[in-house]
Amino acid sequence: MRIKCDRVVDGLIPSESIVCITTHDGSEEVVVHSGLVQDMFLFVGNVLGRDAGKALVELPRESASGKWRVWVPEAALAT
């Protein structure tokens, strides 16, 4: 599964990108390997849970606020 990125900027090294994604209660930034980002979508693996239009996904790395798993709008997901 992939999630839409609102923003993708270069990380501190060429192999890393910093992506910003929308969550159900705000946004999260996460530093990831650039290969996991394609066409403004971030690979996140299987959906871990669903609830009222939200999906629980695990980010490839810990976000800037310390989260691994976040609830995101299902509309932001793509296969």
Partner: protein, 181 residues
């Protein structure tokens, strides 16, 4: 259980674990594999009067990225100073590999007073990328960090099962294809 040299080599040969460039045979020890330092560093600077609040709602790391000066090449780490570095090797632990790892320092560096991570040693199953090192010089002398030097070691552990994130398995193959792995 911690993987021994034999299991590490088998994992590398079979693609269960990927490290590029592939570590030379002498980089593997009984229960770990040494990684080397890359050429990139990032040094934090401070802004007078500023406090970073990572626990605040809406905290954005990118608001502070301009405080990190990128440097390349040899880096002299002054006493009581901190720098971010990365391994030269790209590590990939597929989420269905039933492996995870820890990055740890090396005694050769520790005896000089240099630590290579700040309490964040876990490399989760599914990790992909160069390993970030949070390098601190606790010693009284300046230490030169050179590209290619042995800087850390990875210790691999078997996990009990596959994380839910990758349990279906199909995703992993798709991702590996997309990554050109």
């Amino acid at each position: 259980m911690i993987l021994t040299d034999r299991e590490i080599q088998i994992a590398l040969q079979t693609g269960v674990l990927k490290i590029e460039p592939r570590p030379k045979p002498d980089a593997v020890s009984s229960t770990s594999v040494d990684l080397t330092l890359g050429r990139d560093f990032a040094v934090w600077s401070s802004r007078p009067g500023m406090t970073i609040c990572p626990g605040a709602k809406g905290f954005k790391y990118t608001d502070y990225i301009d405080l990190q000066e990128k440097r390349t090449g040899a880096h002299v780490l002054q006493p009581q100073s901190f720098v971010l570095g990365w391994t030269a090797e790209r590590v990939q632990i597929p989420i269905n590999s039933r492996l995870a790892a820890r990055v740890e320092g090396k005694s050769s560096m520790a005896r000089l007073g240099v630590g290579i991570h700040v309490t964040a040693p876990t490399i989760h199953s599914g990790f992909e990328g160069q390993v970030q090192l949070e390098i601190f010089n606790f010693g009284p002398n300046s230490i030169q960090l050179d590209e290619g030097m042995r800087i850390c070691q990875l210790i691999f552990e078997q996990t009990l099962g596959t994380p839910e994130k990758g349990y279906a398995g199909l995703f992993i193959g798709q991702e590996a294809d997309k990554l050109g792995a």
